[in-house]
Every structure is written in structure tokens, then in C-alpha cells.
Amino acid sequence: MAMNTPAIEIEGLTKDYAVGFWRKHMRRSLDNLTLQVQEGEAFGFLGPNGAGKTTTLKLLMSLIFPTAGTARVRGRSIDDVRMHREIGYLPEQPYFYDYLTARELLDYYARFFGYPAAERRERVTRFLERVGLGDSGNVQLRKFSKGMLQRVGIAQAIIHDPQVIFLDEPMSGLDPVGRREVREIILDLKRQGRTVFFSTHILSDAEMLCDRVAVLLGGKLQGVGAPGEIVSMEVYGMEIFFEMRDGRLLPSALVGHSTKIGERFRVEVPEAQLYSALEQLRSCEARILSVTALRPTLEDYFLKLVARGKAAEHRAGGDSP
């Protein structure tokens, strides 16, 4: 691959589906998507359900075919089957042949990369260990929990050491422990210099893992950039957690603004009023537990976009005759 060739290049990718009984009407699922992902990046592909994330991934995997546009992975067109040697893919809510054991399944997939039997055995053992399933290799997949299946799914995606890994909602439906495990695997891949492209609607995961994110809404790209660039980092308020000593009352200025959580109180004030709020708390001998600057999160940005999209839809609906 030539130096500086992006890991993923998408140009004007568009997908229309024919809908209705006579299939006369077209519904645009993805609209002129153009973006690039660099080698070694962890790239988050964000959007609510129906935004076009899975459509994009299916197009990149040639499971469906574009109405317009092209895409290349490590310089190879997505139509070129050799491209698949360099990528790994975990579909959304993966389902595998449940009559196989995890070991048999990974061996089956490894076969398609032409590894001899001895190497397949070694790889299967290594990757089962890597995703924390070393002890469950001989268990049939029908006995696996959702988290275990997700981990098998990741193992099959990386069994051939691909340079670019596509994960479709890898944390979806997992409990906190499962999510943390998957997060660790993604971080591990990133540390090894792999490019990880994953779609998600869990924004905290994207904030935690991604060098850059793209936000998709209604099939259209809304923005691409580092999580900090996408959302304004300007502080919009201060959050104070405090405790009151026995018998002491809340300062009158904070009554009505404070929320009691267990024994603690939480109050949110504008940045300019921070010192006066702290002075009032000090005067009534409150114990200050923490003071945190509040910045908009990716989630706020995302929700704002969704609200804007809905409003636009509503207006368009209202305008139509």
C-alpha cells in the first residue's frame, strides 16, 4: 500500500432502496457519504437507529451494492475480493452456526485465509485466549451468552490479523462488564496500530475510544472530527456536590436550585456565580465534595442533531400540501 493512503476512503456513497408493493418508490438510506479514515485511527460512526450506519458497513462489505459512489479500503476497491484479506468485520447482533463449538467456528473462518491445519489450531487457541474464551472453546455456541457470542464475533473478525476492523454496534446489548471487555479489546487493537471503524449509538464509548467520530443522521453526514472538535468545549456551567452539617439549613439562594441525592446535595450554577455560591456554602459550613466544570458532551450534540432533524421533518411535513 502506498504511503499516506488512507485506510478507508469513501466517496459519494449512496444507497437507495425500492419500496412499496410495486417497488416504484425509492427511499434513500445513505446520501452521498464522503469521508476518510487514516491508518491506526479508532473511528466512531455515530447516529441513531436508521441513520444509515449499518447500510454503510454493509456497502463496505459488499453485502449490498451502492446506487452511486465508490469506496476503497487500504487502496483496494470494495469490489475486489482481495480487500477482504485485510479487513475484519463484526455484524450487528451477530449470529453464528450454533451447532458448532467456538473452536470449530473460528477454524472454519480461518480456513478461508488458506492457513494450514496446524496454524489454524494455533491461531484459534491464541484468539480464543485473547477474547477471554480460552476455557469455552469446546462449548457449542448455542450455550453461549450474548456477551460471549460478541467476543467470539470479535475473535472471528481478527483471526487473520487484519489491518482494518469494522465493528457494527459492538457494545449493543451487552452488560457493563461485557462493554468494558469489548472496550478493552478495541483499545488493544488500537495499541497495535490497527484501524478500528465502529458504529455505535453509545456515545460515552465513542468519546472514550475514538480519535475521530462521524455523525450520521437520516443517511446524511452531519460532521466529522475529534470528539472535542465536534462539540464546543466551552464551559456552560459549574456543578457542585456538597454535604450539610447536622442541623444546618441550605443557603436561601440555593434553595430550589439544589437536588438532594442521598446525604449529598447537587447544585448547578453559571460559571460567573461559582464563587458567590461557594461563599454562601462556606458561610453555612457546608462540606464541599467536588466542583466540576460542565461542558456539552457528544450526547448533547447528538440529541440536538436528532431534535433538529425531527423539527426539519416536521416542517417539511407541514409545508407539503
Partner: protein, 259 residues
């Protein structure tokens, strides 16, 4: 068979075995045991005829049921359960997947047919205490059944590339029945004096798979020898038809969006 279709074929065979598809052999065995006991009282000539007829017919019917009902689900099941998504993300071409699925079911049918043939042989030995030289025709009849099953599997696979399992079953079954009577369709067409009808009947005869020629059950039961030329002819015909069906299936499936 290259590594990729071979891998898919082995997995398809493994799925059939683990889904207990070969349990039909128990019914076959029970049927052959029952028939052997029942015809044991009749004269040897007749009981041989009954056992061979019954055994070969059962091998054919059991095989057909498997070829059609598993065949129509080969592609559909992989799409429905989305197991195909992970498979096609590997360096696997769609035609390789189809050839592998076909090969896997054919392997299953071959093993199933081979085991039933052993059962038929055992029942035959039980009623007549010996084998005759002409019994080689039984093996030829079994081979023809296998060719027929290969053809039916290819048709089922072709239909399953673009229609639901229910429709694929109807199409495959319809084509099978029409294929049995393809010679009759041509002959009826020839009886009319209308050249257009005659041409249409001839066209239908050539397009439909000719299953009539694969039926050698009666010949085997009566101990008649089957001409070697027919074996070659049927082999070539089945290979060609299967190849055409698989090429057509690949052409359809290669452009299909997997929603």
C-alpha cells in the same frame, strides 16, 4: 474442489449431521426390516422384486425430500440468520459459497444414499440368501438416483437464490414433476398437427430437466442390465444441467442485495 467451496461444503455436511438429518435412516431401516419379514413368506423371485422396488423407491423419495427441503433453505437460512454476513466478509466469492453449499448437500445425500443402499443390500440378502450377477443394476439405479438428487439440489439452490423457501419448494417440486413427464409433453405435442404446438412442446422438452431417463428402478427390480451408454448419457446430462443451474444461481445471487 478448492479450499473455499470445500470448507463451506464440509460445514454444510456437518450442519446436516448435527441437525440429525440422517435420522431418516432409522425409518428406512425399520421399513426394510418390516418389509423383509412380510415378504419372507412369498416365493424368492417375488420377494426380491418387492424388496428392490420398495428399497430403491424409498431411497429415491427420502433423498428427494431431503434435496428439496434442505436445498431450498441452503441460502435462505444463511441470509435469514445473517451467518452469511460474516462469511462474505472473508475472501469468499458468492459463487464459491453457492458451490460449497451445493457440494455439502450432495455429500450429505451421497452418504445417506450409500447407507440406505447398504440397508437395501442387507434386506435383499435376508430374503434371498444370495446376490445375483444382475444385482449390479441395483447399484446403477442408485447411481441414477444420486444424479437425479444432484439435479434437484441444483434447482432448489437456484430458486432459493431469489425466492422464499415456500415458493422455491413449489418451483422445484413443479419442475421435478414436469421433468418426469417431459417426454410425454413432447409426444403429446407431436400428436397435434399444429407446427407451432409441436415446436413449443419440443422446446419445453429440451428446457425441462428430463428426470424420466434417471428412473431405472423397474429395470433393476427385474434384473435387466442397464446399457453403459445410458450411464454415460445420464452422467453427462446431469453434470451439464447442474453446471447450468449453478451458473444461473451464481449470476442471480452475485447481484443480490442482502438486506
Amino acid at each position: 474442489m478448492s479450499t473455499i467451496p470445500g470448507g463451506v461444503a464440509i460445514n454444510t455436511f456437518r450442519e446436516a449431521v448435527r441437525d440429525r438429518v440422517l435420522y431418516n435412516l432409522i425409518f428406512f431401516a425399520l421399513m426394510m426390516i418390516g418389509a423383509s419379514i412380510l415378504v419372507g413368506e412369498i416365493s424368492i423371485g417375488i420377494s426380491r422384486l418387492v424388496i428392490i422396488n420398495l428399497g430403491l423407491s424409498a431411497i429415491s423419495i427420502f433423498g428427494l425430500v431431503m434435496a428439496i427441503f434442505i436445498g431450498v433453505g441452503l441460502v435462505h437460512k444463511e441470509i435469514e440468520k445473517r451467518t452469511l454476513y460474516t462469511l462474505l466478509s472473508k475472501p469468499v466469492k458468492r459463487w464459491e459459497f453457492l458451490v460449497g453449499k451445493f457440494g455439502g448437500l450432495l455429500l450429505t445425500l451421497t452418504v445417506n444414499t450409500a447407507l440406505m443402499t447398504v440397508g437395501l443390500g442387507a434386506a435383499l440378502y435376508y430374503v434371498s440368501r444370495s446376490f445375483l450377477r444382475t444385482d449390479i443394476s441395483i447399484l446403477v439405479a442408485v447411481y441414477f438416483i444420486l444424479l437425479e438428487l444432484g439435479l434437484v439440489t441444483a434447482l432448489a439452490l437456484f430458486f432459493s437464490c431469489f425466492s422464499s423457501p415456500m415458493l422455491s419448494t413449489l418451483f422445484t417440486l413443479g419442475l421435478y414433476v414436469a421433468g418426469i413427464f417431459s417426454t410425454d409433453i413432447r409426444d403429446i405435442g407431436m400428436l397435434t398437427r399444429n407446427p407451432a404446438m409441436q415446436a413449443a412442446a419440443r422446446a419445453i422438452y429440451y428446457v425441462l430437466p428430463n428426470f424420466h431417463n434417471f428412473n431405472a428402478i423397474a429395470a433393476a427390480a427385474h434384473g435387466e442390465s442397464i446399457p453403459v451408454s445410458l450411464i454415460w448419457q445420464n452422467t453427462a446430462y446431469a453434470a451439464l444441467y447442474v453446471a447450468l443451474a449453478l451458473v444461473a444461481a451464481s449470476a442471480v445471487f452475485s447481484g443480490r442485495n442482502l438486506k
